[in-house]
């Protein structure tokens, strides 16, 4: 009997092997590597190698789990951009002398970094992707960028402000998104510009630092930049992500006479913070939560408690760059609202990638990587160029929730509404 | 009133009762005696619908009940006082009694029945608000019987009412049973206490190893050698 059981086991294992050998249901094009000995194009007749059917791009995006609401926005941005580019025939690749459409293979990682890592491995080996697009949230990027580096695949990611990850010497990582140092610097700069009278400004800062590596970084930067800008850190506290009760932190901030709150909570934590602050009667003049109000449902979920909360979104649908109007129109049809804040940066990623491929003129990953590194172009998020560490030089707009809507309030040349201060 | 015909009962694959037939007539006290493990409790469980019999017929007041759910059988007027009483220890005495009148038929006459039960067991009236778990062994048994009476049954089945009681209490218990019977209730009694139960019963059956091995008028059976041998050898 046991022998037969082993036969069954064998059958199962063989079927496993077969299953893993068979390609994924979507037929994978045989992606020919770019031949290195590219012929110099002669003016008259050029013999191009057969072009691949698609330019394969891979991504792992948290569509479910705690970063699900961020990931869904990012996905929309990618999809819009790829659709737009493909509507035009795709990206011109000189090596093949033709336009090739982009194809994105994106898997949901359930906000689990381990799954994200295996997703990226999967698209790398199965789809032979030429580039990765990132998911959402710093903690997720922290895991996935290492895979890009390991596989030597250019990686473009937004929705993460973690600066330190760029200091690991990764060559393939690019992020056209405001980073922690920008955010820490700009929060005080914006505040000083928006509230010109010094006496009206808040003075005592409470910082609620999420106990994650990015939280640690940004919290420290807030603290360091506050003094020179003329502010005092009256209260600084760490909390573990997923905390549901912030009453102790809020009461201690209150006791320290803090009149301004800086933090980087994820969405559920952020909702809890503003609700509980209101319940406990803490009324800071200014609140900036870098990440939580990203969620499109923030206004609905927090009502008046979440009103006037500000954040650095990286982008806003009210910006006046080329292409935004079209994105908004499309988003309006699909979701009955202008584009969410992560749609633009995600869209820009694809723009940058397409430009990089076109400039490289080949599908060789290293060539694309070099082309992206040299980016200097207009995108839907304005002018983008990259520093040596892969961080982007991008606009860092300050966004504020007003009456259940997100408004751009700083810098002045882009603003869609006036800054509301102090919080009523 | 109650009629069992060729009832066979299995526990898993093991047969516990072999082709048992017996009957209880209206107004009677019938005793079922036999040593431990003879299958008496199993038989009662099957009559009450807690366990299914493999084959055979059980007829109560003209109804086939061998396939009925326990709650239906109570509704028809057949109540059982299970072995050890199985009172609801976490509830008060009164609540226990009220639960006895759970079936719709009895709910209407709840207060009337309650008085009747208090009359039979004045002790329960004294302790009505006490937690049932704090009662003594004898009181528990009274409560169990009282609870069964609350459903105003036509036939009352008692599974070892003398279990764990001091001799004086056993005597009183049997007196009470007789009294209840005099008030018109038919009684089917399962006992190990041979002497008292046979003196009380009009008729009796002797069950051994899942089979009926003797039957007769209560006092006749008392002198029946098989009873003696069944216990003492």
């Amino acid at each position: 009997m046991k022998a037969r059981m082993s036969i069954m086991a064998l059958v199962v294992i063989i079927s496993l092997l077969l299953a893993s050998c068979t390609p994924a249901p979507t037929p994978t094009p045989v992606a020919t590597q770019a031949p290195l000995e590219t012929q110099a194009p002669t003016a008259t007749e050029v013999q191009y190698p057969p072009a691949p059917e698609y330019i394969e791009i891979g991504a792992s995006i948290p569509l479910t789990g705690k970063f699900g609401s961020l990931g869904s926005q990012v996905k929309v941005g990618y999809d819009y951009a790829i659709a737009d580019i493909n509507a035009d025939g795709g990206v011109y690749v000189a090596e093949y002398g033709t336009k090739i459409p982009l194809r994105l293979t994106a898997y949901d990682d359930e906000s689990d970094p381990t799954k994200a890592v295996s997703n990226l491995e999967k698209v790398f080996t199965e789809n032979n992707v030429v580039a990765y697009l990132g998911g959402a949230a710093s903690g997720m990027h922290a895991a996935t960028t290492a895979i890009a580096e390991k596989n030597k695949v250019p990686y473009l990611g937004v929705s993460f402000a973690w600066w330190n990850i760029h200091q690991r010497g990764y060559k393939y990582l690019f992020s056209p998104f405001p980073k922690s140092p920008d955010q820490a610097r700009d929060v005080f700069k914006a505040l000083n510009e928006l509230v010109p009278t010094k006496e009206e400004r808040p003075t005592n800062i409470a910082i609620f630092q999420e106990k994650t590596d990015w939280g640690n970084e940004l919290g420290g930067l807030f603290k360091a930049d506050a003094g020179p800008a003329g502010y005092t850190v009256a209260y600084y506290a760490e909390y573990a992500p997923g905390t549901t009760d912030f009453s102790t932190l809020i009461m201690e901030a209150q006791a320290a006479n803090a009149d301004m709150l800086l933090g980087m909570p994820n969405t559920p934590d952020g909702i809890a913070i503003v609700k509980q602050a209101a319940e406990l009667g803490w009324e800071p003049k200014f609140i900036m939560l870098v990440r939580a109000p990203d969620a499109a449902t923030w206004g609905e979920a927090t009502g008046t408690a979440g009103d006037s909360v500000t954040m650095f979104a990286g982008w806003h649908s009210g910006e006046n760059f080329d292409g935004i109007a079209e994105i908004n129109a499309k988003h309006q049809t699909d979701f009955s609202r202008p584009a969410d804040i992560l749609v633009g940066p995600a869209y820009a990623c694809v723009q940058i990638l397409a430009a990089g491929i076109e400039k490289a003129g080949t599908l060789d990953r290293d060539a694309i990587r070099d082309a992206i590194a040299a980016t200097e172009m207009m995108t839907v998020m304005g002018n983008v160029s990259f520093n040596a560490d892969g961080t982007g030089n991008v606009l860092n707009p300050l966004v504020q929730w007003q009456d259940g809507k997100m408004e751009l309030v700083w810098p002045a040349d882009q603003k869609t509404a006036d800054f509301v201060y102090p919080i009523p | 009133m109650l009629n069992l015909e060729n009832v066979n009962i299995f526990y898993k694959e093991l047969q516990a009762i072999w082709s048992v037939s017996l009957n209880v007539q209206k107004g009677e006290i019938v005793a079922l005696i036999g040593p431990n493990g003879a299958g008496k409790t199993t038989l009662l469980r099957v009559i009450s619908g807690l366990h299914r019999c493999a084959s055979g017929k059980i007829d109560f007041l003209g109804r086939q009940i061998e396939k009925e759910a326990p709650e239906k059988i109570v509704e028809y007027g057949l109540s059982q006082v299970p072995e050890g009483g199985k009172i609801f220890t976490g509830m008060s005495v009164l609540e226990n009694l009220e639960l006895g009148a759970f079936v719709k038929r009895a709910r209407k006459e709840k207060n009337q029945n309650l008085e009747w039960v208090y009359e039979i067991f004045p002790r329960l009236a004294e302790r009505k608000s006490q937690q049932a778990g704090t009662l003594s062994g004898g009181e528990r048994q009274m409560l169990a019987i009282g609870r069964a009476l609350m459903s105003k049954p036509q036939l009352l089945m008692l599974d070892e009412p003398s279990f764990g009681l001091a001799p004086i209490l056993v005597e009183r218990m049997f007196e009470t049973i007789e009294k209840i019977n005099h008030e018109g209730l038919t009684i089917f009694l399962v006992e190990q206490n041979v002497q008292s139960s046979l003196e009380l019963a009009h008729r009796a059956y002797l069950l051994e190893n899942g089979r009926i091995v003797g039957e007769g008028k209560g006092k006749d059976l008392l002198t029946f050698e098989s009873v003696r041998s069944s216990y003492l050898g």
Partner: protein
């Protein structure tokens, strides 16, 4: 020679005194029957002897050693084996595996499973289950399960074997077989205590019978004496019989 001596043993549950000042002893090579009606404390005393319960007070001396309150597996390793009133075989095991467990762990265990297996077959043969060694317990009949329970207890190589209502539920022929089996076991120098509800069940084999009622010893003696002891008859059949 006294193998087991119980002195002033007491055990109560809550307020209920299940065993009250119990004294008795068992000699080597004897078969002692313990009888009594339901709730008289037979099984409780058996549980006290085998470590399933801890006595409140009193002494249990076995082969010159105090064993009251020892963990039950230690009691077994010291040489007291028991069966359960409701058989507790390992249901997903074969008959052989059941016995092997006992042989591999009891007193003087055979650490080598091959040896244990061989010895187990012998024991199964001894109780008449030789042909059922490879059969799952699920598929055994009641009497066979009882035999298996016995085999398992024997496989622990006990000095003293405690049988809890082995005879209950057996018909006449089966009971006869059981008696034969017990006599046979006695021949291999194992002392036996039989706990039974029915007097008849122990008279055929016992050298001595102890009668319990309400947690106390009410009578002790030869089987014939016990059957005619008025106290015993009263306990079982009521006063008028006595």
């Amino acid at each position: 020679m006294q193998l087991l001596t119980v002195e002033k043993l007491c055990k109560s549950f809550g307020g209920l005194k299940a065993i009250n000042n119990l004294d008795f002893h068992v000699n080597e090579g004897e078969i002692v029957g313990i009888i009594g009606p339901n709730g008289s404390g037979k099984t409780t005393s058996l549980n006290l002897l085998t470590g399933f319960l801890k006595p409140n007070s009193g002494r249990i001396n076995f082969r010159g050693e105090e064993i009251g309150g020892l963990p039950r597996h230690i009691v077994c390793q010291k040489g007291i084996a028991r069966t359960f009133q409701l058989c507790k075989p390992f249901m997903d095991f074969t008959a052989m595996q059941n016995v092997m467990v006992a042989r591999a762990y009891g007193r003087k265990p055979s650490a080598n499973l091959h040896i244990a297996e061989k010895e187990s077959i012998d024991i199964l043969e001894q109780v008449g289950l030789g042909s059922k060694a490879g059969i799952l317990v699920k598929d055994l009949r009641v009497m066979e399960r009882k035999r298996l329970e016995l085999a398992r207890a024997l496989a622990t190589k006990p000095y003293l074997l405690l049988l809890d209502e082995l005879m209950a539920g057996l018909n006449l022929t089966e009971a006869d077989e059981a008696c034969k089996l017990i006599n046979q076991i006695r021949e291999s120098n194992i002392t036996i205590i039989m706990v039974e509800h029915i007097v008849k069940a122990v008279t055929c084999v016992s050298d001595r019978i102890i009668v319990f009622n309400m947690g106390e010893k009410i009578a002790e003696g030869q089987p014939e004496e016990i059957v005619h002891n008025p106290k015993v008859i009263e306990v079982y059949l009521g006063k008028s019989h006595a």
